[in-house]
């Protein structure tokens, strides 16, 4: 994408029928740190990488609770994401005040998409520079949507956005067919594994990622660091064992993890080193 004479205003079409400002906004999403989401029939899990500006600062909040049954993970301009989360929270509160029932996720994403579309058709506005993974539960089941700055939205079984998200997407593409019937814990493990893919060699610690879950009988909440670290430890220790026949200390997810042998260099086992991930 190169600079051209049709990209100054969002209200200017290019001869090829493109709105460059909108496409540039989608680039902003690709620059943000990764966020992933995956769902089963009864649960949806969101995960994100916590990027801090420096060692001295705290990391930006990228996962927001919107209501007991809806949560959102963002990638891109986090300030835009914060503002949109506030909008979503307000919509949920107003809907349940009027109808005494939770706002269906599908309705919320349409409202969000329409709000984004407005910014693509006003000369005095700019598109939101943030992609949102909306995870929610309603009467029709568990849902994961992706809302992009263009005003489009899609429903997904699993998705990843942000920088190095292709690695996570490849991981998810390989396994998504199993997600519908996954248990909650396996889903969380898969989410952590997908996050690990985006780290490309960096050690996975609970301090650099956040995982949040929403499900049947489980209101949206972020898992605490201790729990996440425990899960990380279980599949890391499984990888250190060269011999997959030794007793697995937790669910079957681990054996799959040991077989994956992904790019991260944990422990001493060099035999597990598999082919590097595609970028």
């Amino acid at each position: 994408m190169f600079r051209n004479q049709y990209d100054t205003d969002v209200t200017t079409w290019s001869p090829a029928g493109r709105l460059f400002q909108v496409e540039y906004a989608m680039e902003a999403v690709k620059q943000g740190s990764a966020a992933i989401g995956l769902r089963s029939k009864t649960h949806v899990v969101l995960g994100c990488v916590n990027k801090a500006n420096s060692e001295l600062s705290s990391h930006q909040k990228k996962i927001f609770k919107v209501d007991d049954h809806i949560g959102v993970a963002i990638a891109g301009l986090t300030a835009d994401g914060r503002v949109l989360s506030r909008y979503m929270r307000n919509e949920c509160i107003n809907y349940s005040f009027t109808y005494e029932s939770p706002l269906p996720v599908g309705r919320l994403v349409v409202q969000l998409a329409d709000k984004a579309q407005v910014c693509t058709q006003r000369s005095w506005k700019r598109p939101y520079g943030v992609g949102l993974l909306v995870a929610g539960l309603d009467e029709s089941g568990a849902h994961l949507y992706y809302n992009c700055p263009s005003g489009n939205y899609f429903e997904y079984q699993a998705f990843a956005i942000g920088s190095r998200s292709q690695a996570a997407k490849t991981y998810l593409e390989r396994r998504f067919e199993n997600f519908t019937d996954s248990s909650r814990d396996d889903l969380v493990k898969d989410a952590i594994m997908a996050i690990r893919e985006t780290l490309q060699g960096e050690t996975l610690k609970s301090s650099i990622c956040t995982i949040a879950v929403v499900g049947v009988g489980e209101p949206f909440h972020a898992l605490d660091q201790g729990t996440v670290q425990q899960i990380i430890d279980t599949f890391e220790s499984a990888e250190e064992q060269e011999d997959p026949a030794t007793e697995p200390d937790a669910a079957t997810g681990q054996e799959a993890a040991a077989e994956q042998g992904t790019a991260a260099d944990q422990g001493g086992s060099t035999d597990e080193g598999a082919a590097p991930m595609d970028i």
């Binding site: 609770k65 506030r86 929270r89 307000n90 509160i93 107003n94 005040f97």
Partner: protein, 223 residues
């Protein structure tokens, strides 16, 4: 030519009584469950008590439609507070919010007579009492509703609270232990049910303490 009078009123009084007593480390909030209109009973099983926050409970008598609207309004505002501050509202904070919400409708009031009870940030019991337009005061105990004229003098006799105007400032909480306060509330409602026609059926009693919130029921006269 006489001034035209309204041929209907937007308000109704559904009767009932509410009481709250603050202790050193607990708070008791109670209300009867009878809902009436005129000389009739609408239901014997309607709760006038609403949990607004983790350690904050409100009991309201008056026009229950307005009470319900008020409860919903406060619940929505509390949710917004939680999103912004990442924590529950404290009882004194909720007390101020309730006052502001009531005064907001100063010229078409919520016909709701409220007592707010709970624990403050230090875990001490607190009770706030209101009029319909939001004038409020932190007290050691209070009663509102149709039976309040019968109940309040009895509570004054048993619990006499120091005036909040006195200096040096004295603690408003009652020296009674939780079990004694519960007993007192039950006695007070049993007495009020005898003479107030709008109070009776069942007593709903809520206790807020460090362990959380628990609910108790007691049968009252049905006549």
């Amino acid at each position: 030519m006489t001034k035209q009078q309204a041929n209907w009123s937007p308000y109704d009084n559904n009767g009932g009584s509410c009481v709250a007593i603050a202790g050193a480390d607990y708070c008791v909030i109670a209300a009867d469950t009878r809902m009436s209109t005129g000389y009739n009973i609408l239901t014997r099983d309607y709760s006038k008590i609403c949990k607004l926050a983790d350690k904050c409970v409100m009991a309201s008598s008056g026009f229950q439609a307005d009470v319900r609207a008020l409860q919903k309004q406060l619940a929505a505002r509390h949710l917004i507070y939680q999103h912004q501050h990442n924590k529950q509202m404290s009882c004194p904070a909720m007390a101020q919010l309730l006052s502001n919400t009531l005064y907001y409708k100063r010229f078409f009031p919520y016909y709701s007579f409220n007592v707010l009870g709970g624990l403050d940030n230090e875990g001490k019991g607190c009770v706030f009492t209101y009029d319909a337009v939001g004038s409020y005061e932190k007290v050691g105990y209070s009663s509102q509703g149709s039976g309040s004229t019968l109940i309040m003098p009895f509570l004054d006799n048993q619990l006499k609270s120091p005036s909040p105007l006195l200096l040096p400032a004295q603690d408003a909480v009652t020296p009674l232990v939780e079990a004694e306060a519960i007993d007192l509330v039950k006695t007070v409602f049993a007495s009020a049910s005898e003479r107030d026609i709008y109070t009776g059926d069942k007593l709903e009693l809520v206790v807020v303490n460090a362990a959380g919130i628990r609910r108790e029921y007691m049968e009252l006269r049905k006549d």
